[in-house]
Symmetry: C2
Subunit: 330 residues, 2 copies
């Protein structure tokens, strides 16, 4: 009887124990949840080179670059340039954007004159568009892109140095052709080169863009270009111009800094005259510069602001081309 009696309270206690254990578990979960919420979430690194790294990239793909060259109506020049650029150090691959619609690519001839140290891929296009060169090509395996116009020759030495500079400024467009915008009292922007002076600058000059026709930039910017407002593509196609200005807007918006780093070239040449096609570049058109001012203002409207920032930094190689070129001859 006594024992019988005492089972009841025992059971009661068992139930309370059960309630307690569940309370313990719930509290533990709450505490765990609360503290876990305080853990850091992985932040996006601002430096583009440290994000979205394909696992497949070989080491060589990391310390080398891909040359992207768009060509139109200058196949003789193209072949001359392809020959020249084959000898560039750190060159991983060449992607030729073939804008000669319906025309056969010179691949057969190229291969017949091989072997060549660096593979060349011809990307046949269906429409002759300025922005064809700004695709996110699947053949592109390197972080670094060197984009060159098909009439411009830059010395191997300048390219090797500029690539080493790009490796120190991977989020910028590192190139040889600086340009700038000027804001006028009317609020309308004007596009120009070093001849166009801004009284506000004080001593020296400044630039707010580095053209991509002779520049290194990060391949992730080609991905980013695919996600721009339709109006940007429309503007570029309407003018067959300004894709380089758009890229500078894109980079300046991404970094919040000047889009470009200007490297002073020692030897850069325009080979236009050398082509037998007699074709001369788009920039000879009377409206070329006017179009580019027009584009700057359009892009400011599309992006709802002026992201371009000024820089007055010019980088050259210490002790080259002249021994002691850092000594001033004054």
């Amino acid at each position: 009887r006594y024992f019988h009696f005492c089972k009841l309270p025992g059971r009661v206690m068992g139930i309370r124990l059960l309630r307690f254990t569940s309370v313990v578990i719930i509290v533990l979960l709450l505490v765990a949840g609360a503290l876990t919420a305080l853990l850091p979430n992985i932040k996006d690194d601002k430096m583009p080179n440290s994000r979205r790294e394909p696992k497949t990239q070989s080491q060589s793909a990391l310390d080398s670059f891909t040359l992207i060259m768009q060509t139109y109506n200058r196949t003789d020049l193209l072949l001359k340039l392809l020959n020249h650029y084959q000898a560039i150090p750190h060159l991983h691959k060449v992607i030729v954007v073939w804008n000669n619609i319906g025309e056969k690519i010179p691949e057969e001839m190229w291969n017949s004159l091989g072997p060549h140290p660096v593979p060349v891929v011809f990307k046949v296009q269906t429409v002759n568009r300025m922005r064809n060169r700004l695709q996110n090509f699947p053949e592109l395996e390197t972080k670094a892109v060197l984009m060159m116009d098909d009439d411009t020759l830059v010395s191997a030495h300048d390219l090797a140095f500029a690539f080493s500079v790009w490796q120190q400024f991977p989020e910028h467009i590192v190139g040889f052709v600086p340009r700038k915008h000027i804001s006028t009292p009317s609020g309308v922007y004007s596009y120009g080169s070093f001849e166009l002076q801004n009284p506000g600058f004080g001593n020296g000059d400044q630039y707010s863009m580095v053209l991509i026709g002779a520049a290194f930039f990060h391949s992730r910017y080609l991905e980013d270009f695919q996600r721009q407002p339709e109006a940007v593509y429309a503007l570029i196609d309407e003018t067959q111009n300004c894709d380089d200005i758009a890229m500078n807007f894109l980079v300046a918006k991404h970094t919040g800094k000047p889009s470009g780093v200007f490297v002073k070239p020692v030897d850069i040449r325009n080979l236009e005259k050398d082509t037998n096609s007699g074709y001369s570049g788009m920039w000879h058109r009377a409206e070329h510069l006017l179009q580019r001012s027009y584009c700057v203002n359009k892009l400011v409207h599309i992006y709802d602001g002026m992201p371009l920032k000024y820089s007055n930094i010019m980088i050259s190689q210490f002790g080259f081309p002249n021994y002691a070129n850092h000594k001033n001859k004054m």
Copy 2:
């Protein structure tokens, strides 16, 4: 009787409840402790300008710099330089490190010829030491320090540009005098200037130090200098030399990058000849350069490795001093 019976188990249960509650608390503490250990501990930001910001800093102290100039036996030159540097833009304060032991500071005369736009503080020293200028002066309110030798004049324009460059490279020594070390096959290092060529360099030249006798650097490096091995101070005092080499070691170790960024000066002058004291700088001593090679090897031994890295970047101002100085005259 029945009730009497059931009190006993009740008390027993009370004790068990008590035990349980304490178990709960202990478990909670353990879990809390474990999860808290997972929380991020505040990391030292690599960029020195974003650490240890005195709350008191005025905005002007953030976008301005302090000139620190050590002087010995050239008071006439000092006054000439003080007059020159009074006109430099963004100059917040001048700290004169007075190494003329026992000699009266020219404060009275300086003030009698006032007013002066920028305050000048004379720091009277008790021992004439090279490294007196590397103290963490309480009067120093800016992040940026401009350190100048007392026989060197750099144009206001060069200083304004170099300061804008430093603001973009705040963790580096940004200055006008590059130097380098060379490793010889014997494993012994040699110190030199641009005359000393390293066959390994290929084209052009490189530097691994930027001297602090005409340079901008972050004030936090003066704090860091107070925490160096005693052997470093002993080496500097024994040679009355090499404090600038030690600073380059310190910065290179801190950043893991080249310690300096070289800005090509347009107008830098040595005014040594102008002093009436006839005193000529330490670097005229026959042993000066030998001492500096000696210091490099000693510092490698003290720091148990060679932290200095090479750079071949030379920065100049776009469009200055010549309009279109970025055009190559080739």
